[in-house]
């Protein structure tokens, strides 16, 4: 279960210089970030009751078990919400122009949501509910390396 390779789409979506992806210091979300580097989407899931949760927690919000694991999910979802940003809130985006952010829900993981960018024309019409597929965007020159998960409209 891998997404389309980003090499089908040239470059990375946003300009260099933004804060990087990567695990929290306490390691809570490390499996997620390691998964992205391997082009796998891993989401936290309770070992006792099977509930999905995101962002990850130390405990299952549903049954209060500490037995939490990570399950792989296909990088397929639908647009739950979106925004088109015009105002650069960071020096790195000074010359970016407008860009699209999407909040993608994963039906295969009880609708948990991930933030990403919507590839393609930044001025495209965006419809909530549109199916999207994920593409991994690797930042191997960064130190440490990290990978992001981007989205494009499913064809």
């Amino acid at each position: 279960m891998t997404g389309q390779r980003l090499s089908d789409v040239p470059g990375q979506y946003l300009a260099e210089g933004l804060p990087p992806g990567g695990a929290r210091q306490d390691g809570l979300d490390l499996p997620f970030w390691n998964g992205l580097a391997q082009e796998r989407l891993l989401i936290q899931r309770c070992g006792r009751c099977g509930s999905w949760q995101w962002g990850p927690e130390w405990i299952c919000h549903n049954c209060l078990s500490f037995d939490l694991g990570w399950d792989e999910v296909a990088p397929r979802g639908q647009i739950y919400s979106w925004e088109r940003n015009w105002h650069p809130s960071h020096d790195a985006l000074r010359d970016q122009g407008p860009y699209l952010v999407v909040l993608v829900e994963l039906p295969e993981a009880a609708g948990i949501r991930l933030i990403g960018n919507l590839l393609g024309d930044p001025l495209q019409t965006v419809a909530i509910g549109s199916p999207v597929v994920g593409l991994f965007e690797h930042h191997r020159e960064a130190s440490p390396n990290y990978s992001l998960l981007q989205w494009r409209i499913a064809r």
Partner: protein, 389 residues
Amino acid sequence: MTMRGKVAVAGVGETAYYKHGQTPYPEFKLTLTAILAACENAGISPREIDGFSSYSADRNDPVRLAAALGLSDVGLSCMQWQGGGGGAAAAVANAAAGIVSGQANCVVVHRGLAQGEFGRFGQFNLFYGVPGDIAHTAPYGVLAPPQVFAMRAMRFMHDHSVRQDALRAIALASYHHAQSNPRALMRGRPLDEAKYDSSRWIAEPYHLYDCCMENDGAAAMILVSADRARDLPNPPCYLLAGGCGIGYRDGAWVHNAPDYGASGFATLAGRLYAMAGIGPGDVDTVQVYENFTGGVVMALVEFGFCTADEVNAFVTKDNLIVGGRLPLNTSGGNLAECYMHGMGLLIEGVRQIYRQSTAQVHDADVSLVTGGPMAPPVSACLFGSERVL
């Protein structure tokens, strides 16, 4: 257990308001100035203060304020925990709780901000995230508050077919009221439909005029027991109810709150009305914190002023200005008076009960003030006149 009617706002005060970075005064001095102004308005000596209450990680710490003011016995030092501007009204509720519990008798609620001294509040910072949240959002260009809060409004608008006009109406009402307010930074700079419509996008669905300003200044209010307040010069302004709220998994990070196309007041609104013993139909005027207009629209629904499906018909400039069905942000609010993270709105909510507003609502007996939408724990207060008690 209730605080209803046991505490009153004795006085309010503020400094001049400045564009961000423009105040010549240090933040601490602004705070002292506002506190002294509130005491003078209340008709009390600053030496009577025996408690401090603030929010949004305010930097102006009570031990230093007490030392600067020469206070000899302080019994309350209270910071609303988390929520940023969401906690503005909770700082009032917490102060009231301190009085009702007997820990203090005269509590100042204060907020002071000088961004030139400490950096822009509205730029990219760690404030809105849990640890590690940044890594899931910032690499994708979700950085400053407009990007953090735009998608919630977008979802709400989608769910209920809400038009941009409703967001625009909030901005138009705030700017309309600012024109009568000498303190308002946007006085003399009116806003009409055409100007709003042609203004640049910040983060769709927010235009420039959908976003609060960034300002320097300070504001404060003095809370005392209801009995004490009746001996003081201002008309009584009682706290009917106040508190904060976190709804089910509102803190699920990376934008996973289940009730996403919402402002987060749903659980609090019911509790607040129950404590006050009133309903939305009894509210004469509202001050709803505009971090963004979309948040205000959602808040109006959650406080029961209209249903989500009625938004397009109800949320109009005509309904929201003085003389309309629900006068909103009568001093100009965060969009057009000053963005003091909600203290300005609290003060205006009290001034309506004092009958001292620059856009006074006739017979304003019940005044609702909210803290920042979409920033849990969210908060709100209901103030009432003697007639309502």
